[in-house]
């Protein structure tokens, strides 16, 4: 037990301290959402969400269950398209380009905006094939050597290479939960996305695996724009530079993470952070 606690603590310290708030606000905006609504049949799940997501920083969505944070995340790479009866309104722009524009191919969009899911979901194929799948369908590797290079570097970036380098041909489903989730991150990175969406990536993991993923997220933000949905306020505080609080399908408050946690303006945000609701 002690060892576990020690490791978590140690990794917490190793996570870089939050960016300077002003520095954060000066970052260029990568994604802008305006008045985004989602209806599932007759039920409205999101009531006009407007938010800016800064480039190469971690933005976290927090809020109680059913508040719409995951729904909004899934709007960003149009995963809601796959749900029957879901209707999305408003606009979301990636670098000024409307992602719901009918002329935009959703396949291309998802190559630019990768996603990591709540439960690790590697393909029932080898570790190598898991990572190679994205580059293969998008035609990113010109040769076998090229592909090998992409696979190795993606696994390296996901901090998994050293652990699996001797068993790249073994099934990805045979890894531990935390390793599987890092494999999923490597798989997403392999396509070279600009944005990575993470839907509660640690909720199925133990504290050590969680700490390793958090550390990884902190490293990844140097090169990627990351949006993470989390149930854990501590996690949001640890990994993100910007935080948005959702409640009952509304975006209640958003801002620099430090401000949200130390000095929330809204009463509901305050209650949630203090543990009075949620």
């Amino acid at each position: 037990m002690d060892m576990v606690a020690g490791k978590v603590k140690m990794t917490q310290q190793s996570v870089k301290s939050a960016m300077n708030p002003t520095d954060m606000l000066e970052r260029p905006i990568r994604l802008t959402a305006r008045d985004v609504t989602v209806h599932y049949g007759a039920k409205q799940a999101l009531h006009g969400i407007s938010i800016d997501i800064p480039d190469r920083a971690v933005t976290s969505f927090i809020g109680p269950s059913g508040c719409g944070k995951s729904t909004f995340l899934r709007c960003i790479n149009r995963m809601n398209d796959t749900i029957e009866g879901a209707k999305v309104g408003g606009t979301i722009k990636l670098d000024g380009e409307d992602i719901y524009d009918p002329s935009l191919d959703v396949v291309e969009l998802r190559a630019r905006i990768g996603m990591v899911f709540q439960k690790p979901n590697p393909f029932p194929k080898s570790i190598y094939e898991n990572v190679a799948y994205g580059p293969r369908i998008h035609g990113l590797a010109r040769s076998k050597a090229d592909m090998d290079e992409i696979v190795v570097s993606s696994l390296r970036k996901a901090g998994l290479f050293e652990e699996v380098k001797d068993r790249l041909n073994e099934p990805g489903t045979g890894l531990s939960g935390g390793q599987q989730q890092r494999l999923c991150i490597a798989r997403a990175i392999a396509v070279g996305p600009e944005v990575i969406l993470m839907d509660e990536p640690c909720s199925a993991l133990d504290p050590i695996a969680t700490a390793i993923i958090e550390e990884l997220i902190d490293e990844l933000r140097e090169n990627y724009t990351i949006v993470i949905v989390t149930h854990s306020m501590q996690q949001a505080a640890r990994v993100s530079q910007k935080t948005a609080f959702f409640h009952l399908g509304n975006l209640i408050e958003e801002g620099v993470t430090e401000d949200i946690f130390t000095n929330p303006v809204n009463k509901q945000t305050q209650d949630y952070i203090m543990g009075r609701i949620g």
């Binding site: 796959t82 396949v107 291309e108 899911f117 799948y133 997403a188």
Partner: protein, 454 residues
């Protein structure tokens, strides 16, 4: 304070008491249910065992045949045929061909029964008294054809004596196997008294012996010569039909299921199609036979009694089974896998073909094999498209006339020579069951292998 405490404790004790009182009833219920379940299984297995034991007991004798070892003499006196013409003796090829044809016709016209009779008499004890008609009932009627074929193939046999094995007749085989009550009077016997005595003598002196009945696998059906009736024609007919079913039903069924499950928008139309497919699976098979007769034979003018029509009808019958099973398998694929693929930017088609189908492949394969096995045993629709005709040839193409294994069983079951065909029927059932068990075994093997790999 103490009061409340003891009241709480009392209440808790009461509750425990009540739970305990109910426990016995619950356990009793469970025991009864388990007992009933076990009894049901024992009963079901018992019937299956009974079926197997009965079929095997009846069918095993059919795998032995009685052979007559005869020394056949192609006696020129008896045959009264000239030696076969030789090419060198003729001036032109045309003359030679004409002479050959005439010779072959002569050979065909000969009474080969005389040769058979002479061979039988040669093998018989010296003092036997039996007339020609009676002695010929001992050998199967096609014995003379076999001997004639030998001679046509090698005309130099004229004047020589060769050892030949021919089949004893069905009646003789029945007599030897003890299927006929020996105490019955002459009036009730198929074989005359001298013939029966001679058969016994033949068994005694070794002219007749029993061997494994390869003929069941290598011969086609026969009515004139029941002892030589075999399954080959029906088996090949069945193989043709199964090939057609596999080639047509599997791709069409899987494609239909994939489209309905993965691509079709949910609408009133797809709901209607779904209900209809489920209903089709429950349509009596004889109705499919009627449909086949109306569409494939009357309208498309495909040949009657042909495996192509049988295969098409069985394809129609098997399609709903494959579609329903495949859809079930597709529905069972976890949404996480689909999301993973879509999230990587795979298109819907790529998701289906790269991820969903490989995962469901073992289930689809099993469903297919079971569907095909079902079609294999189907008889009713085949009766309606003419596949119950007596066909004494091996269908070389799916357009030739043929019958099928289950229909062969039906035909033999109805044969008037009950004594001889009852074991044959059971033997045919054994062959059909063996093919089915083989198919199911392959399904189980492939499934466990593929699932291990996945």
């Amino acid at each position: 304070m103490t009061d409340t405490l003891s009241t709480t404790r009392q209440a808790s004790l009461d509750r425990t008491q009540r739970i305990r009182a109910g426990l016995r009833r619950r356990h009793l219920g469970e025991t009864i249910f388990r007992g009933l379940g076990l009894a049901a299984i024992v009963l079901a297995l018992g019937f299956v065992a009974l079926l197997f034991v009965d079929v095997v007991r009846k069918g095993v004798p059919a795998f032995t045949q009685s052979n007559l070892h005869l020394a056949v003499t192609f006696d020129p006196e008896l045959l009264k045929v000239d030696p076969a013409p030789v090419r060198d003796a003729f001036a032109s090829q045309a003359e030679y061909t004409a002479a050959s044809l005439k010779w072959q016709r002569d050979v065909a016209m000969l009474n080969w029964n005389k040769v058979v009779e002479a061979s039988l008499r040669a093998a018989a004890p010296a003092d036997v008294e039996i007339d020609s008609r009676q002695i010929l009932t001992i050998a199967e009627t096609d014995a003379r054809h076999d001997i004639r074929e030998m001679f046509v193939a090698d005309p130099s046999l004229l004047g020589q004596t060769v050892e030949v094995d021919v089949l004893a007749s069905a009646n003789a085989a029945n007599w030897i196997k003890g299927n006929i009550d020996r105490s019955l009077g002459d009036a009730q016997q198929q074989l005359s008294a001298p013939a029966r005595a001679l058969i016994d003598a033949f068994v005694e002196n070794g002219t007749i012996s029993n061997g494994f009945a390869w003929s069941i696998f290598t011969n086609v059906d026969s009515r004139a010569a029941p002892a030589s009736a075999g399954l080959l024609g029906a088996f090949v007919g069945t193989v043709w039909m199964m090939l057609i079913v596999i080639i047509l039903a599997v791709p069409i069924g899987v494609a239909a299921a994939v489209y309905l499950e993965e691509f079709a928008p949910r609408s009133r139309w797809t709901d209607l199609i779904e209900v209809n497919i489920n209903n089709l699976a429950a349509v009596p098979s004889i109705v499919f036979g009627l449909l086949g007769a109306a569409v494939f034979i009357n309208y498309l003018h495909l040949p009657i009694s042909a495996p192509i029509v049988g295969g098409l009808v069985l394809t129609l019958m098997t399609l709903p089974t494959i579609i329903i099973a495949t859809r079930g398998a597709l529905q069972g694929v976890s949404p996480a896998l689909r999301q993973a693929a879509l999230g990587m930017g795979a298109s819907r088609t790529q998701m289906v073909f790269h991820h969903v189908l490989p995962v469901t492949f073992p289930s689809i394969l099993t469903a297919t094999i079971i569907g095909v096995a079902q079609a294999l045993g189907e008889t009713a629709p085949l009766l309606l498209i003419g596949m119950k005709a007596f066909v004494a040839s091996v269908p070389l193409t799916p357009l030739d006339q043929a019958t099928a294994l289950p229909v062969q069983i039906y035909l033999w079951q109805g044969n008037e020579n009950r004594n001889f065909f009852e074991p044959r029927t059971a033997a045919a059932i054994m062959v059909l069951l063996a093919v089915m068990i083989l198919l199911n075994g392959v399904a189980i093997y492939l499934r466990s292998r593929l699932e291990k790999r996945a």
